[in-house]
């Protein structure tokens, strides 16, 4: 990479970057304000106790396990759907991304309902699959529903990979696996790190799945503090502890990325990628892809659908359904766009102007994601009512909240794409007389297309199923698909939740499908 350190940072990227950061840092300020209200004695009792340390250990063990299994799943799948000669790769990619559309707690509950004696699998297929529970249950279920974070990141990176590198390696005498290890994998490092970071953060923050699997993690302690004690002070302490954990993850990732050097140095544009014929491995490849599709889509959705069987008076009005659908769309789609626009300058600065400052800027974006969403929402209530009261309970604030919270998900794919887009092109454009902003738009932006689309997909899927932010920040009387599902499942009225759960997946599928068709151009 061309050394760019020391150059002044361009203002047209700095400004939006700072804006995004201000949004993300607000929750930190809020948490600190609340944390300061603590009383030392109670603090000792609730926060600094041996059990929390044990929960922390559980969390770390779970995170490492999930990271490992997600990688073993996502890496081959990403390769198969980009570089092999499998048929229907695009459709397969769609199916493999969709588990992200299933709200984790719904998925976990459906999987529980499908397994064990009397479960759906036994009823229909006479298959007595053991019920997922404990560490392995949490590991398996979390993996099924969050591996797509890594899959999407890797996929974008693989699509952007210049095949001439692999050809060069082959011409130097490397073959097969050696090419993958020496050339492909190193190129995938930014995508791997970005995906791992998201998955790591997700595991740190998950409560819904682990609680259903009866595996206690640290976020469990936070959730209990908010929900059982109706407390915001000690919950803030616990949240800050979680954020410290996140900071160390971010630090690790930053170290790993240090001095990464991946863009093409050659002239001209990247060539079309060749497809590796799978031959007799084809059935095995399909079988492998079928595992997550069955586990995260088919079985949970079939279970949810099965709940509606035999219900005489199905009360779900079509108008309610359409209402919730429309509400979901009008918040999530703009949020995807805004989050991606906010993430772009952060990623750009981090990649093109590597310095302590720019890296720190980029990393801070992840901090918002590390705050428990409930605390994030409370912070926005706190500040919007004090600063911008007219914004409170408007759609605008909800979109902002989604965008700021999920910005971290948008950074990864953009960053991977930036690493692969040569800065030379932009420099050449500037040499031709374009101003910096124009040069970026003309030379680099078109190369980021795939990354941007992946980013939007990730943010969209997360916003669609988001709960605490929606509950607290949406306009009064505003139902989304996810809040409806929560409402019905929390009262154990599954049959009425089912249509919403099915719609959320179909709807997300349409959106992802739309994005994937854009990839081709």
């Amino acid at each position: 990479m061309v050394r760019t350190a020391g150059r002044p940072l361009p203002w047209h990227f700095i400004l939006p970057a700072l804006l995004a950061l201000a949004g993300v840092l607000l929750p930190m300020v809020y948490l600190l304000l609340r944390a300061l209200q603590a009383d030392p004695q109670t603090l000792q009792e609730i926060v600094f106790r041996e059990r929390n340390l044990r929960l922390l250990g559980n969390t770390l063990a779970l995170m490492l396990g999930v990271l490992l299994v997600c990688t073993l799943l996502a890496l081959p799948l990403a390769w198969l759907t980009t570089r092999s000669n499998l048929r229907g790769k695009r459709f397969l990619s769609l199916l493999l991304t969709l588990p992200l559309a299933v709200p984790g707690y719904v998925g976990a509950f459906a999987l529980l309902g499908a397994t064990g004696p009397g479960g759906l699998l036994e009823t229909l297929l006479h298959l007595n699959w053991p019920r997922p529970q404990g560490y392995w249950g949490a590991l398996g279920v979390l993996t099924l529903f969050i591996y797509p974070y890594l899959f999407l990141n890797l996929r974008a990176a693989l699509l952007g990979l210049d095949p001439s590198l692999e050809e060069a390696a082959r011409s130097l005498g490397y073959r097969g696996i050696a090419v993958v290890l020496k050339v492909v994998l190193p190129q995938l490092r930014p995508a791997l790190y970005a995906g791992w970071l998201l998955i790591g953060l997700h595991v740190l923050g998950d409560f819904g799945v682990v609680s259903l699997m009866r595996f206690e993690t640290f976020s469990y302690a936070i959730y209990i503090q908010y929900s059982a004690s109706f407390d915001r002070v000690y919950a803030a302490w616990l949240s800050l502890m979680l954020i410290v954990l996140t900071l160390s993850l971010l630090w690790l990732e930053a170290r790993a990325l240090l001095g990464l050097n991946l863009s093409r140095v050659g002239q001209g544009s990247a060539r079309r990628q060749t497809q590796t014929p799978l031959g007799r491995w084809t059935p095995l490849a399909y079988g492998f892809a079928a595992i997550p599709i069955a586990g995260a889509l088919v079985i949970p959705l079939a279970t949810v659908g099965y709940w509606t069987v035999g219900i005489v008076a199905q009360q779900t009005g079509l108008s309610d359904l359409l209402d919730a659908l429309w509400n979901t769309l009008q918040a999530s789609a703009p949020a995807a766009l805004v989050a991606t626009s906010l993430a772009l300058p952060l990623a750009y600065l981090g990649v093109r102007y590597p310095s302590r400052l720019s890296r720190a800027l980029e990393r801070t974006a992840y901090l918002g994601y590390a705050v428990p969403p409930l605390a994030f929402a409370l912070a926005l209530i706190f500040f919007s009512l004090r600063g911008l009261p007219f914004l409170y309970q408007t759609l605008g604030l909800l979109i902002m909240a989604y965008a700021l919270y999920f910005m971290a998900e948008a950074i990864g794919p953009i960053r991977s794409a930036l690493y692969q887009a040569s800065p030379r092109l932009e420099e050449a454009a500037r040499g031709l007389g374009y101003r910096p902003a124009q040069a970026f738009m003309r030379a680099t932006f078109p190369l980021l297309r795939r990354g941007l689309l992946s980013s939007m997909a990730l943010v969209f899927l997360s916003s669609v199923k988001e709960l605490p932010l929606t509950f607290l920040l949406a306009p009064v009387g505003y139902d989304t698909l996810a809040t409806r599902i929560w409402s019905y499942t929390s009262e154990a009225v599954y049959a009425q939740a089912a249509p919403y759960a099915l719609i959320i997946v179909v709807f997300s599928a349409c959106f992802i499908g739309l994005l994937l068709t854009q990839e081709r151009r």
């Binding site: 529980l112 009397g118 009512l385």
Partner: protein, 350 residues
């Protein structure tokens, strides 16, 4: 994006023409709330703006909003959250006419009214356990040898915690701690919530579980609504059904009368201090206690009413029997949630 400003405009216009509108924060499931609210709007012409979410979320939001809160009413899913709102000084004192309507369970503070009643019961798997094998008191549950490793409970669930608070009030701190430890020693399995626990019973993980009564009722999918004799148009098309796979193996076991295992818990609603129209808000509370709304709660939610004269489905106990089931206990003693959480932490359950 087009519809929202339009809706806003419409709301403004309507608001100008007819100034009466209420903002309600509800932490009950929307399906249980919305029909009553729609009917209220129809009957009174008052517009309702509804925000809903879990107890903790709503309560935290109310506190962050402080004096700027646009809410008039808090309709809560547990007395615990209402007591927390009481402690935080969020609630407005209610008039005695309103407080005298429910036949029982009115808090001495007079800051909220009960809306429905639920009971703590034992769910059991009738193909594994006979009722005769179960103890009269929940206090003896951990001593039943056959149930070792086969009991489920929900230590993080608010109703469970209220039950422990009641046990502390009735049996004392030491006995409660001993019971908790005995349950742990008996291998009680902790579940995230009641539906998850009942599903585990279906799958044979456990044979009994400490639950709220209505979860079992809903699982049993009370489609057999023969007892109902209301007018056709009043009749709610009930079947809030559930996982049919789980239908088979669950039944309700009632501990003896007056046992802490038969504790009654209430949901309720309150007027917030931030309300600029408390009279209108009280009108809504009155509406919740009317026969029509109470009947809906019974039919749809499977909870017990707080006023008499409501027809109960056959699967529920008669109202008179119900009122006497719960142990006699000063309701204000159920507010020491902090003490309960401390105890649960001490024995390592939280």
């Amino acid at each position: 994006m087009k519809r929202f400003p339009l809706a806003l405009l419409a709301a403004l216009v309507i608001g100008a023409v007819q100034a009466q509108s209420l903002t309600i924060y509800a932490s009950r499931g929307e399906g249980l709330v919305q029909p009553i609210i729609k009917q209220f709007e129809k009957d009174t012409g008052i517009q309702v703006k509804l925000r809903f979410g879990p107890d903790a979320e709503i309560l935290a939001a109310l506190q962050e909003e402080g004096s700027r809160s646009p809410a008039d009413l808090f309709w809560a899913n547990s007395s615990g959250s209402l007591e927390a709102a009481t402690k935080a000084g969020l609630l407005l004192k209610l008039p005695p006419e309103l407080l005298s309507r429910p036949s029982e369970f009115v808090p001495s503070s007079g800051l909220w009214v009960p809306v429905s009643v639920r009971f703590r019961v034992l769910a059991y798997n009738p193909s594994k356990i006979k009722p005769s094998e179960l103890p009269a008191s929940v206090m003896d549950l951990p001593q039943i040898a056959k149930l070792k490793g086969r009991i489920g409970w929900t230590p993080t669930y608010s109703s469970f915690q209220d039950f422990i608070t009641a046990m502390r009030a009735l049996k004392g701190e030491a006995a409660t701690k001993a019971w908790l430890l005995a349950m742990k020693a008996a291998g009680a399995k902790a579940y995230a919530n009641n539906p998850a626990m009942l599903d585990a019973m279906r799958a044979g993980e456990i044979d009994v579980g400490l639950s709220n009564h209505y979860y079992i009722q809903r699982l049993l999918a009370g489609i057999q609504e023969g007892e109902y004799e209301g007018k056709e148009e009043d009749q709610v098309k009930t079947p809030t059904s559930s996982n049919p796979a789980a239908k088979a193996n669950v039944a309700t076991y009632y501990f003896s009368k007056g046992d802490v295992g038969s504790l009654a818990l209430v949901t309720g609603a309150a007027v917030l201090k931030t309300s600029k129209q408390p009279a209108l808000a009280e009108k809504f509370l009155n509406y919740l206690l009317e026969a029509k709304s109470q009947q809906f709660t019974v039919d749809q939610v499977r909870e017990y009413p707080v006023v008499s004269g409501i027809k109960l489905p056959a699967s529920l106990l008669p109202f008179t029997e119900v009122v006497g089931r719960s142990p006699k206990l000063d309701f204000s003693k159920l507010t020491d949630l902090d003490g309960t959480l401390k105890l649960l932490r001490e024995v390592g359950l939280l």
